[in-house]
């Protein structure tokens, strides 16, 4: 499905070439997505059974996306802001705790602690950039909880840091806003609903297992939420913003469910 393929090369040849490269680039970047479309074609047999004509890939994808948005709403409705995720004794911790990211472990970003400043923006009263020392001066708590990956596996870890609700109140965030977004040093980005942001177990994490959060787990800080799947827990956070405009996310923009609750 290369839409530009048959276009005659007229006056603006460069532009046509550029478009063609862009199209090819799309396929190189998202081979899995292409397979997803091909696979949905094999559902022709099912379409016969239902009597609908599911022949258009785009309409299938649109329907699935509509269902995913519906599932966001259901999860928001199911989410109990007071219900706590189970906690475990330290003896049940998974050792070593698995590394997971959209890149391999040898590509983990190193962030310079001394130069680091956490940016805070959007619907907040106090937009000053935070040093790590300032964050360490806030009240800290530890929790041993289960991290559940969208792939299905789970692992128990011990994270320590500032309850995120404490941080949001400290910066005077508009707690009635819809979203809190995150931008990370590893070019990852994601966003969460305000109800989860204020959940008592949602934590701006600065340590793992009593040690400074190591780079592979997201130095200098990650957001740890035992009420959401792993991909909703950003690492190497550089900027936090409060907004009413849907910010999306790295995986969410490719088709993972946005709410990603557990």
């Amino acid at each position: 499905m290369l839409p530009k393929k048959n276009r005659p090369m007229l006056a603006n040849g460069d532009r046509v070439l550029k478009d063609a490269f862009k199209d090819v680039g799309k396929y190189i970047e998202l081979p899995a997505r292409r397979a997803f479309l091909q696979r949905s074609m094999t559902l022709g047999g099912l379409a016969l059974l239902t009597g609908c004509s599911i022949t258009d890939d785009e309409s299938v994808e649109a329907a699935l996306l509509t269902m995913s948005r519906f599932n966001d709403k259901v999860q928001g409705w199911l989410f109990d802001p007071k219900l706590l995720a189970p906690t475990y004794p330290e003896s049940m911790m998974t050792r070593p705790f698995p590394f997971n990211a959209y890149y391999d472990e040898d590509e983990v970003r190193e962030v310079d602690a001394a130069a680091f400043r956490l940016e805070v923006s959007g619907l907040v009263a106090d937009k000053h950039a935070w040093t790590l020392d300032e964050l360490h001066a806030l009240p800290q708590v530890d929790q041993v909880t289960r991290h559940i990956c969208v792939e299905g596996w789970s692992a128990i870890g011990k994270w320590g840091g500032v309850p995120f609700a404490t941080f949001l109140r400290r910066v005077g965030a508009d707690l009635g806003a819809k979203y809190v977004g995150f931008k990370c040093a590893d070019d990852y980005y994601t966003s969460i609903d305000m109800a989860t942001a204020l959940h008592p177990q949602t934590q701006l994490t600065l340590s793992y297992d009593g040690q400074t959060l190591p780079p592979r787990y997201g130095f200098p800080m990650k957001l740890r939420m035992p009420t959401k799947l792993g991909y909703k827990n950003p690492k190497h956070i550089q900027a936090i913003f409060v907004t009413n405009n849907y910010p999306g996310g790295y995986w969410e923009d490719q088709g993972y469910n946005w709410f990603g609750g557990s």
């Binding site: 899995a32 997505r33 292409r34 397979a35 997803f36 479309l37 091909q38 696979r39 949905s40 094999t42 559902l43 099912l46 059974l49 239902t50 329907a63 699935l64 996306l65 269902m67 995913s68 599932n71 999860q75 199911l78 989410f79 109990d80 219900l83 706590l84 995720a85 189970p86 289960r146 559940i148 990956c149 969208v150 792939e151 299905g152 596996w153 789970s154 035992p226 009420t227 995986w251 490719q254 088709g255 993972y256 469910n257 609750g261 557990s262």
Partner: protein, 198 residues
Amino acid sequence: MSKETAVIHPPWLRVTHWVNVVAVVILVMSGWRIYNASPIFPFVIPKEIALGGWLGGAIQWHFAAMWLLAANGLIYLAFNIFSGRLRRKFFSLSPRAIVADLLAALKGKLSHDDLSHYNAVQRAAYLFVIADTIVLVLSGLVLWKSVQFPVLRELLGGYEAARRIHFIAMSALVAFVGVHLVMVALVPRTLVAMIRGR
């Protein structure tokens, strides 16, 4: 009504049966792709028979079709229970009758003259698959929302146990479908009955 025109399967049963087929096929095939992302047993499912292409696509299919399965299943159960059909068709059922009918079936002596009458093996198999589907839905709820359903989670032995229960219940469902299809192939009139009702 003569025997030829008597309705074997009422319309609501036929509709819910075929909607269930669609939901189960989507859920099982997309579930296989989800399983492959992090297998709990030492094998993966061939990607040729898995649905969704990549994990995100498979999850989209799975979490769309789950509503179809659940809503359709509730409609089926409500009709079945409140019409009295469940009691009429499936009970009484005794282990002795199941063994006797199983032996008769293996000897080729089980009658299929009256398709509106379920023999003891059929009764046991259909009741099993209803119960198995309920287990699939409940373990699926724990996988989807383990924090939000604490009682269910603890009943099933926690998140990791629920993964295994979900997979084993899927396997049992697929095994049922396999036997079911063989039986339909042996007595093709049953397929006609499930489409036309008689």
